[in-house]
Amino acid sequence: MGNIWMFLQQTAAATLTALFLLLLQRIFLDKLSPRWQYGVWLVLLLRLLIPAGFGGRSTVLDVSLPLEALRTRVELGLSSAYSSPFASSLPAAPVPLPPQGAPESWTDWLFLLYWAGVAVFALWFVFCALRLSLRVRRGVPVEGARRAAIEALAKEYNLPLPRRVVECRFARTPFVLGAFRPALVLPMGWELDGKVLLHELLHVKYRDVWAGWLTTALRCIHWCNPFLWLVFDKTGNDRESLCDQRVLERLQGEDRRDYGRCLLAMADNKRVRTPGATTMANGARAVKARIQAIARFKRFPQGMGLVSGCIVCALSLSLAVGAPASAAGDENTFVEAPSGMIAEPELVAETLSLAAQNRATTVAGALDAYGKGEYHRFYDGIYDELLCWAISLPREDLPAVLEQWEQEQYESSFWTGWPVEDSWRAGPVYRGLTSDGADGYLCQVFWFRDLSLESENDPRWPEEGDPWPTEYLCHTVRIQPDGPYWTVEKLAETTGSADGRINMFLTGWWDSLLYGPVTWSGEANGVSVELSCVPTLTSGEGPLGSETLRWYRDQDWGYDPLTSLGGRNLGELPQSSPIPGAFFTTIYNGMRVRVGNPGGTPYNITLEVVPDWDDPEITASGGSGQDPDRVDPGEHRYQSHAGLVYYDTLPLLKAGETTEFCKHSGGAQGSLGDHIQEFLCPDSFTVTVKVGPEEPFQVPLTPRYTTPDGGTFTLDGEEAAP
């Protein structure tokens, strides 16, 4: 727990669990044994030791979402050093961690106060225990006949006897002290009572002093939660009730009634809360409850342990461990933003906390949210856009993103809810997923819109039957891991004409000569070669807004967002909410090739391109070319759809002439899983060229980062070449 919100998450989760357990205890008061009544607190112990929301798990009594929304809302107006409005406040550990840096807001000061409280309480309890230990050390050891009587009792009931048995003047009733070397402390001159001694010896046998210390530690951590203190008192009482039950199970007839009378005699004693000590006298109210429990005493039927164990197991898993978030299947889990058209602080906080709890867990999930963010800039509620950005962008970018988003909302003084005429209406489609050489990936994210043509006199006006020309917006992005999550960072933005054939639902894109994110080029013996791996990918239920594109020349075409479904029924349109755990759902392989003859004599060129990956487990399986017999995919473990072996004989190239084309080799669709090897472009190529009848030679290639129009960009701290 590194800030006050983490403490609140943890203590709120524990409080609700304790409330539920108290309710359950009340319902089963006369039905289940004191063993169960005490044992059920194990569930609370687990809840206190397992951080709330640990591993993305959710419990039956989950309050993390409203607390996250509250934290986001409060922290948006502060600049805290320990907490952030954009980072989740689910604790990583159940104990408070030392504050990092100087406090900068009132929530930071609150955390410091909490931390100081933990330290003060811990010191106070240790001091109390030490003081008691020193006083007991000055006690008079019990020897002779009294010692022998205690030893006989321990032997009779087969119980361990503490090495130290002492009498102290300050002690009002017997008690046991010390976790490692327990001591039995008796009041000075106390007349030995076998039943009371039996009670204390049973505490020694079952190591209840340890349980007392554990409760004390938890009291320190949750010192400012009075309800939990009451619950810890209740656990102590239940421990004593269980000890009573154990005593009664060992006694017969009149001795049981005598035992009740012993307890009655202690009813006037004040409650003493001493860490590391157990005492039979624990306050009048507790003694009353214990006497009632004794009145209910019965031997529980054989098999009671089974049902008690089953109930405790079910409670532990439901209330403490929780169900994994992925149990329902992340691939199909959409995150829906609050609906609203006006920026309101509560909804902003709710959206950001929703995003913090649903960050992208797959590469496709991060791209899916990022891609839908651009789409939602012009569609649906404004919070969908914010949600998408907050799910997919790096945490450190979120303040700027939020500021920009708020600015956009402020500027859009007239918002009709209809798509803006020149907006990027269709997408996203991903292209050229490539390793960035580290743990991340590079990719191009495309959105499309129709080209706006004034009249048929425009040379770009399509011929009858040709598709209507579209233009694209491309973000070249880098997808990087952030712990178990993936984030998307924009590297470059490009717009241009979307050449090539795009299918109706935007799931495939062929013959496009646009560059991929990495382009390899080289020259040898008068032959220049340039390669770009450009597989097209989609995620989730597919790209959005394809119905808004004007696919075929139609002069009467007019877009109506309510009725234009692009040949689909309303129910078939893809879901526009982000899927943080999405997988890729279609891939169409492609490779852009450019071969040139910078100078010299015209010749025929035979070209062989073999992709290669740094990961030895990935080998190419696809093939394309005029001589497929030459393609040998070989043995491989992964079916790599992204890389294809290419073999081709090119037509005669004159001096200074170049030829460029896009080769493709099929693809796949369906739920393609998270095996990123399936989709990854090669890390290098081996290109072998044969010119006319001469001996073949290899062309060394150098990679560079490219935008779709052939421009270059750099990664942070790197040169243009990867």
């Binding site: 039927p301 049902v307 089953c310 079910a314 898993l317 994994p324």
Partner: protein, 190 residues
């Protein structure tokens, strides 16, 4: 009516109670309504009446009357599947725990009654075995609902549970039949 006849009546009601509870056949009328052919509410009603009849012979059974009432009322939700989504998780958990305990205690008491009222001591043991399997299978099914995505495992659990249910129903029917025969014998001898 003799005490034995009370026992028979109680045991027969217990059988019918479990018959309605353990076997589920429904007519689904879309997502808004379902018509259960063997409604659970009837099962809880029979158990409640059975508890009423048997509690003079086994006082601990009387503790289960409130549980049978609450569970019976809550089982009315079976007619309205859409209510399931509205029910908070903690309530479902609470009801699951109450159901688990009720089955355990009912079958424990029935086993004790079988041993006390019939010469066949094995019936008590068999009822206790069924009780243990029932508690374990219901816990396992609860876990599978919450935590397991594996359909095959859930199906296996359901198949095993169904076997346990059938054996339990046979034992309960046998118990009530034996009580009926014992009553008949007493009447003839009397």
């Amino acid at each position: 009516m003799t005490e034995q006849a009370d026992l028979f009546t109680g045991a027969r009601r217990m059988f019918w109670g479990y018959f309605f509870l353990l076997l589920d056949f429904n007519f689904n009328l879309g997502s808004s309504a379902t018509i259960p052919l063997l409604p659970n509410v009837l099962g809880w009603f029979f158990l409640f009446r059975g508890v009423d009849a048997l509690s003079p012979a086994r006082p601990s059974l009387a503790l289960l009357s409130p549980f049978c009432t609450v569970l019976g009322v809550c089982s009315l939700a079976q007619f309205f599947p859409w209510l399931e989504g509205l029910s908070p998780g903690w309530l479902s958990l609470l009801l699951a725990m109450m159901t688990l305990y009720t089955h355990f205690q009912l079958l424990t008491d029935l086993a004790a009654l079988a041993e006390a009222s019939l010469s066949d001591g094995d019936l008590g043991k068999r009822l206790r075995s069924c009780r243990n399997f029932l508690v374990l299978s219901q816990t396992a099914l609860y876990f599978s609902d919450l935590f397991l995505a594996a359909t095959a495992l859930a199906l296996l659990l359901m198949a095993a549970s169904l076997c346990v249910y059938v054996v339990l129903l046979l034992q309960l029917w046998g118990f009530s039949r034996d009580l009926e025969e014992a009553e008949e014998l007493r009447r003839r001898e009397g």
